[in-house]
Subunit: 128 residues, 3 copies
């Protein structure tokens, strides 16, 4: 499970980087806690972090469950696509929220694949 | 752990469905990213997703930890109650946020049970 | 993994307590669902819960991954620092959001340590 652990830790490191950008943006655009609105440029960083949290909560469990049933390196490779998708999403969203589609699709599709892979894996075990 | 995996994947699939409803509601009620407020009907869908994320982060770990100490099918059955509770919560909240109580209780109680089951399981191992 | 399970369950119990405080604050400061803004004192409780959710999603996976490679009791001890950090964060934030630094540092540092410990653990296995 080393590859699965590595992809998980990279996804968490990436997410913490996004959170760090939010903290930086708080200062830069003068949005004081507990507010999370007030300057649209701050809100973009904040929404990237929140959206990444929303997906991370689905990504990590599906990654580990799928890896119980399939080749771990193949599953980790699907997970790597998520990492790239999130990076593209971050870069697009802070520039123009309307252009976030590609990054979003590239981070949601791996999760959907892992979810289906997990369900097929369970079905295969039960039909054996 | 097949039953635990199945309940986990269903909980994630349900959560992603709620997230999909938020994306749909964005278009329907004209709330453009990065905003998450502006139309109360959109905010209801958004709050259902956020509340489900808030509980999912507690549900999945307690589910897997409790399953280390107790019969996996029994633990998965408790998890299934959470799935029903979340569905009722979704249906009630989008109609009238004030009527969300029953769905909320039915999704929080299984988590509390799993948490206590996990703690008792650890205590039993240490007192053996 | 009993110590890791215990720290995980305590972190989730703590998080659910924070969520309970938000529910209480809703009534006390008259912020009706689906709103999450309107009274700054409510927003403080809400932000503590959200920030704890944001960190919990990184804390639990790094805790379990690090425990695959290092002594479980030592890893659990690092996790215990997170629990103290979160408590300090909660107490400081609801009094004055500007004073949340120490609690934040004490909850983020253990996560960073666990993340690095996990990465070193993987590297050590591969270089063996």
């Amino acid at each position: 499970m080393n590859w699965i652990s590595l992809v998980s830790l990279l996804a968490i490191a990436q997410y913490l980087c996004f959170a760090f950008c939010v903290a930086m943006a708080r200062g830069r655009y003068g949005v004081k806690a507990p507010a999370t609105v007030g300057d649209e440029r701050f809100e973009r960083y904040y929404r990237v972090q929140m959206n990444t949290l929303e997906l991370l909560a689905a990504f990590l469990p599906t990654l580990w469950i799928a890896a119980q049933y399939w080749n771990a390196v193949a599953i980790a490779a699907i997970g790597a696509v998520y990492l790239v998708g999130r990076l593209l999403y971050f870069r697009a969203y802070v520039r123009d929220p309307g252009s976030r589609e590609i990054g979003f699709v590239l981070s949601l599709t791996p999760i959907a694949l892992l979810l289906v892979a997990g369900l097929i894996g369970i079905a295969m075990v039960w039909m054996r």
